[in-house]
Symmetry: C2
Subunit: 217 residues, 2 copies
Amino acid sequence: MTTPKAIPKPSLQRLPIYYRILKNALEHHEEFISSAEIGRRAKVSPQNVRKDLAFLPEQGQAGIGYSILSLANCLEDTLGLLKSKDAVIVGAGNLGKALALYPGFEKSGIQIVVAFDNDPDKVGEKIGDIPIMPIDKISNLVRRMKLKIGIITTPEETAQEMADLLIQGGCKAIWNFTPTMVKVPEDVMVRNEDLSMGIMVLSHYVESMKVINEKFE
Amino acid sequence: MTTPKAIPKPSLQRLPIYYRILKNALEHHEEFISSAEIGRRAKVSPQNVRKDLAFLPEQGQAGIGYSILSLANCLEDTLGLLKSKDAVIVGAGNLGKALALYPGFEKSGIQIVVAFDNDPDKVGEKIGDIPIMPIDKISNLVRRMKLKIGIITTPEETAQEMADLLIQGGCKAIWNFTPTMVKVPEDVMVRNEDLSMGIMVLSHYVESMKVINEKFE
DNA sequence: CAATCATTGTGAAATTGATAACAAATGATT
DNA sequence: AATCATTTGTTATCAATTTCACAATGATTG
């Protein structure tokens, strides 16, 4: 009934940072934390932290701050970290392997349950405990296992094709590590994580700084 | 004298997307492209595309659009993709290896020239052609080789330490793949690429969608 | 060659996000 | 019990970004 007002993207992207800080604080047996302290650690202004947290049902206590435990639980709920979710990786190259073995996913409740590759040498092998299957099984398996999250780390030429197969199988969220922008229906979320884009931005910064420095050197 | 007005961050982050689209169009032997078409492919409004491109020296032609070749060249210049730049990876784990071998960097003019790790078994080995050196050599080597770009893929506990060493050696841009927010001086750009953050955002989407779907199922 | 069409560049308006400011709440202190 | 310092939630303000609207421009057409 009361649509829980959608969280704006910038806020949503900061929530995982706060979550990380809270988990860390918990390990140090802290109990309460102020927006000022969260802000210091996350490099965000305290006001901004409070604004972000205002989107959550959890409330802070004036004079005290936020209960770290409650807030962390609340974030786990909001970010959907509690229910463990299964995901699939398409492309068992270096990047695919690295992601499959990335320890951070488990902490986020993500479990990679299967990988796909078209290389016959790889099919049948395993990445850790994760079996590698041929790509013509994608749709079927994704559907049968009710997987909703697909990660694409193939060469860019096949990215769209792989995305189509995943969606055909019922995937609703796609994490695309290739430089192509894959096209998806309205109801599917795609996050393009083109790594060379990141390097271009850094590259621009280093370049533009050189210009400035040349004046002074 | 005339400071070439700094490009706002949101615009800067879209430029690599446009660049990718232009390169793609070039391969299809297209010659001119309109802001509307770029926008369609990049999922950005045409006005916004024009505003972004207005930060570049390159101009479009009314009635025709932008010369794809000129604009691509201009972007290569602006993003510093022409001049090859050397970079360093700290942390020769799975992710570090995957990045070191990632083919996309070369296209962006980035060359990984050396990796560092504290594991004595890894030191002395190579990732492709890239030698792995002990971390106590970071500052020295970075300084001697005048490296400006550092990529951190160590466990999160050591991230800050590694960043400090890189900066001590003269690095001006740091790409941090650990979940920690590293602190850096004003003149150093840091890009935090916490992968588990990405998955949390997707995870949130899948969760929030479930709520909606449950109403209809 | 005039009229039309597609498309850019840009100033103004609207929206969105961030910061500042402050009343209300809470525990600590005197 | 009263006061003080701390810290939240919220409203108002400010800044950045995006969208809107349209005049200006150059190609195309009859």
